[in-house]
Symmetry: C2
Subunit: 401 residues, 2 copies
């Protein structure tokens, strides 16, 4: 491999990943387990919602037109025809001059089109004095006002929120067709790595990346599979990649940050498949490798956890979205004004960590290897490749962690 | 009970819930399972991070002072003392005039304090020409620059993000002390309710609330326990509440929206414990009941899913935060300008759904019983009790769903 990497742009890297992404299949999950899953089909209401005109207050169902002009001073009088039981149809037709008591959620009888709240009525024997006029549809939910039978309530690609789960319940969707969660194989390479349970000796560092990567992909609706720490050894790494690509949809290898290690990872991918990209015009994250083995995307991430995390957010997230079919964006952003200049090299997309407070974004120019700036920051600001930097006062979009 | 509820303010209701909240205990979870859990103890680094000065580039470790003035035109010359292996200490002391090759992530030898990138050096036999000066600490992470041994890396109460998981890995926290997830018992009452699997007949509606509530509390780090649909029957409801309060930390009952039903729920709570609040000055959500049975908070939520959801967000969320000890807020907000007036009654806290696009918030004044405005909206705007409404153009904070 050449010492000087052929850098490709972030957008080209993302395009490449979208091209090699294989859409995950569909599986049904019980509604109670569908939160945060990606809907794999459009869902239509299987009934009209509501299926009948119902009151949203306790009161008297009437024909609205008959209440016109009613007031405390000049009430109108209606014959009380009884009360509607919850969960049952009204079982009658409301005739002119009649009203019927309906508790909140109860069915309006045929003929009625509004409800007068109990607070605005007075019972005198079998008669009800109505002291306030109501408009058509007032205090009621009309038949199929929310959704009509057959109407799509949610579109495929939606990441299901709590409210979405409620809408699916109303639509009768007990088993929800969702995208299968991509299985992401995670390998860490590097002779300097030790497990978290071990106290590092001179020259050693703990394997932070496996945990950061697993947590990030879990956040994006994937299922992480840990393959542990693999030594910088051609055979061990080759065997690890073979096993992980056989068992997972995507393999993320982190480490291999030195030229020798990168070259080895690249050579092993090339042996078993193909290296598509080696080096991306992004900072941090330049030494990223994108390839394909066994038909599966294999991505070599930088060894520094903070750099690996940026590559996950800026690049790998798009692969996952293409696999799950998620539409819209689950990326949260925030507008803020920079309080310092952010220099940047033209031709390279920079991701600068910022801390945001009261609409002001303060860049944290820490070294990319530091973890403390990752947790002290609110998110990152992207400096586009065509820009030579951003000036103090610029309104930027902060990609929230 | 009186027909006219004694309404209490939202802040009083929240204070009451905080008072009756019992802090959940602590349990250890493996680091790989700790994402989104609430940290229950301060965590300190068990080692210095990094434990040695290491390079972040491939290059030559030097004494920075010796490179002053080096350039392409006038390089300085150093004796190459070999290379440092990954994962091992450098095993030498760098003397004046010497340099040593260190791959990315490798240990700097004693005496070295910076690294010259390989791109700015040239090897000639056993000598290295350095063509660029470096400053002290350049291209390296200094010993304990990230965290010192014993320094707190994360504070208790933090909801753990992917980056936090990485910091815990570096700090050696393999088993993470987190707050036990509160168990939330969920009952739906109402003779009109049928399970999601059933096609509703006249007068019937599906049990949407159980699913919405379960999903919402799951989002906030709780474990929902379903007790299903309970008929509006004193014995059945009483037995359900007894069982749920014996098995869970909090019980949420939804439904009981009509006066009769509310009064029954209230009477049953009073029989088995105490009703603390019956009616809150909030819209939607006024008929909320807060009580305590069996030492556990029992909350009667409105029957309309959209109203129940607002009460969850505005009131119940504070109970859960008090139980888990979460500090800071997991509530995401967004600033936007209203494009319409929002009227509101003084003395009542209103929550108005809004759709936000390009910084403009459009109120969705749908009936509170509609589900479609829940999914069409971006979040809610709170109109404080002391306000009589918000005018067009007002900058508001949108509480994102």
């Amino acid at each position: 491999m050449s010492l000087f990497l052929q850098l490709v742009s972030v957008s080209k890297a993302v395009d490449e990943l979208r091209m090699i992404a294989v859409r995950c299949g569909v599986e049904p999950v019980p509604l109670a387990d569908a939160l945060h899953r990606i809907l794999a089909r459009d869902i239509a209401a299987d009934v009209d919602i509501p299926g009948f005109t119902r009151t949203v207050v306790d009161g008297y169902a009437v024909r609205a037109a008959e209440t016109v002009g009613s007031s405390d001073a000049i009430p109108s009088m209606f014959a009380l025809m009884g009360r509607v039981a919850m969960g049952a149809s009204a079982g009658m037709n409301l005739q002119p001059g009649e009203c019927i008591y309906v508790p909140t959620g109860g069915v309006l009888p045929a003929g009625a089109d509004a409800v007068v709240m109990i607070e605005h009525a007075e019972q005198i024997g079998d008669e009800i004095l109505i002291k306030k006029s109501v408009a058509f549809g007032e205090n009621v939910l009309l038949y199929n006002e929310d959704f009509s039978e057959g109407e799509p309530v949610l579109r495929m690609g939606k990441r299901l929120s709590a409210q979405d789960i409620g809408v699916l319940a109303a639509a009768g969707c007990r088993d929800v067709p969702v995208t299968r969660m991509p299985k992401i194989g995670i390998l860490s390479t590097g002779n300097e790595l030790v497990p978290v349970s071990v106290r590092p000796q001179a020259g050693q560092v703990r394997d932070v990346n496996s945990y950061v990567i697993a947590a990030a992909v879990r956040d994006w609706g994937c299922f992480p599979v840990f393959y542990g720490i693999v030594r910088d050894d051609r055979d061990a790494l080759g065997a690890g990649i073979s096993r992980a690509t056989a068992e997972c949809d995507v393999v993320l290898i982190s480490g291999g940050s030195s030229k020798d290690e990168r070259d080895m990872v690249s050579a092993i991918i090339e042996e078993r498949g193909r290296v598509l990209i080696h080096g991306i015009a992004i900072a941090p994250g330049k030494p990223t490798i994108i390839g394909k083995c066994n038909g599966r995307p294999v991505i070599g991430l930088p060894g520094h956890p903070a750099s690996a995390f940026i590559v996950l957010i800026a690049i790998v997230r798009h692969l996952i979205t293409a696999m799950t079919g998620e539409t819209g964006s689950s990326v949260r952003t925030l507008q803020a004004a920079l309080d310092q200049n952010v220099p940047s090299a033209k031709g390279r997309e920079d991701y600068v960590r910022v801390a945001v407070k009261n609409g002001i974004a303060t860049p944290l120019f820490g070294k990319s290897g530091l973890l403390n700036t990752l947790v002290k920051s609110t998110g990152v600001v992207r400096v586009p490749a065509e820009s030579e930097g951003l000036e103090t006062g610029t309104l930027v979009e902060v990609i929230l962690w």
